[in-house]
Symmetry: C2
Subunit: 268 residues, 2 copies
């Protein structure tokens, strides 16, 4: 079945647990991006980070950290970096390029394309900087490991590959004619890859064992599949059901732990 969907960002249902974490993460970011000179640079950067659509990714990172016995503050910088990377991606996805379909209806651009391009480019190093600076000196190996994970997830085998696929599947009128299977493949790479990374980062920073971290990699991927498909209007689909069942199976590994927070991401 072909499904006609709009590119327009859909709002997500929010869970109180995510909202509380999102608030913590945003407060953490705001400490680092005070609006300072040069205003012409920092004002759009602040705006584009804070106004990017919220996703479950940063909260999942913190939840994974807590699941393996870590504390929230240990994952907050990685969660912030993930939120920042998503904001940069979102900004560049909506740039009006000369070879792109017409801007989608309802998309409100506060800044010109040139400023949005530059700001997106400035946001990514800011995310890496925030993460690199989060080390007090005793944790640097874990942070480097997290950096490799994030670089890969937002890079050429992750988000960028998913964007290529999406760009190649999009039509010139700004809408997409997609098969569920094509959507599933994009979601697997995109939200799947990012959430997998988010869960791994939380596990690494929370001091999880290698076995726990590999379980989290799978669970994160399923969470991304669920959230990505739900966001695209496929909440009752078999893809979502399958991902949820697989995630629940992997979660059995953590049966002695507090799994309620992670379960909220499975929409159960």
């Amino acid at each position: 079945t072909a499904v006609r969907m709009s590119m327009k960002q859909q709002s997500r249902n929010s869970h109180p647990y995510w909202a509380s974490m999102q608030a913590d993460i945003e407060a953490h970011i705001k400490q680092f991006i005070t609006i300072k000179e040069p205003l012409v640079v920092f004002e759009p950067m602040h705006h584009l980070i804070i106004n990017a659509p919220k996703t479950t990714l940063p909260a999942l990172c913190v939840a994974a950290c807590e699941l393996v016995g870590g504390e929230r503050h240990e994952a907050i910088s990685a969660a912030s970096a993930l939120l920042i990377m998503e904001a940069a991606t979102y900004t560049h996805e909506h740039l009006p390029l000369t070879d792109r379909p017409k801007p989608e209806f309802g998309m409100n651009h506060v800044y010109g394309p040139n400023v949005e391009l530059l700001t997106g480019d400035g946001i990514v190093p800011f995310g890496f900087e925030l993460l690199a600076r989060s080390d007090g000196g005793e944790n640097s190996e874990r942070i480097l490991r997290v950096m490799v994970e994030i670089s890969r997830a937002v890079g050429s085998r992750g988000v960028i590959e998913a964007q290529y696929r999406k760009a190649m599947g999009s039509r010139s009128d700004g809408e997409e004619m997609c098969h569920v299977e094509e959507i599933r493949r994009v979601v697997e790479k995109y939200e799947g890859g990012l959430h997998s990374c988010g869960a791994v980062c939380g596990g690494v920073l929370g001091g999880g064992s290698e076995e726990e971290i590999e379980k989290l990699r799978k669970i994160g991927s399923y969470v991304g599949m669920i959230q990505g498909m739900v966001q695209r209007g496929f909440s009752g689909s078999k893809e979502v059901d399958e991902a949820r069942n697989l995630a629940i199976k992997e979660l059995e590994f953590f049966k002695d732990k507090e799994v309620d927070a992670i379960k909220t991401f499975l929409n159960v």
Copy 2:
């Protein structure tokens, strides 16, 4: 005096010392960026990194490392990351956006704007990944420090700010009407900031003292001023002379060391 200059990339004079380092750095990068699946992503990435205009920045990083007694291999990943970041910047600077001046004459785009945008976005995390993975386990604090330096130099207080200034100074016919003073300010932020960062990274990775690193920060900034002004056709200007004299003064601090390599960057 107003100077009319073309944006077209000018070729730089090359020095045998730089050419030898450049070859080492490119060989190092090629180990990491083999052309692999997905080809649609890696092929343009490979092309855009390898074909970006060469600058003195990566070689300066290695020279600074050697100046403080480090070995070339200790700085090679940071030098590679710097080359990669410059390639990403160059790619995005030449994107045909709807609000940009017409593409400059003679600029040969192998890929469409969408692919160049995505590839540029993919190149930056690749640079951070290459750097994060370069640690064998004993050097992670130095690498995190270098990451903070690079993030800042390529981010909102460095290259991005310089690009804003440049964008605001450019005219709609794709050429620039600039005063030397305006050019000097852009070069100070842009090439000055990058070379300052490159020299610091080399100093940190080569195990330099804090005093040596701060001297290198200044020297790098002067090198960037010289190279940036020379590249823009101001090789005999008083700005270049001043920067060279200041650099030579700072270099006296290293009078017991082997300073010939660093001197090649002063065009003396």
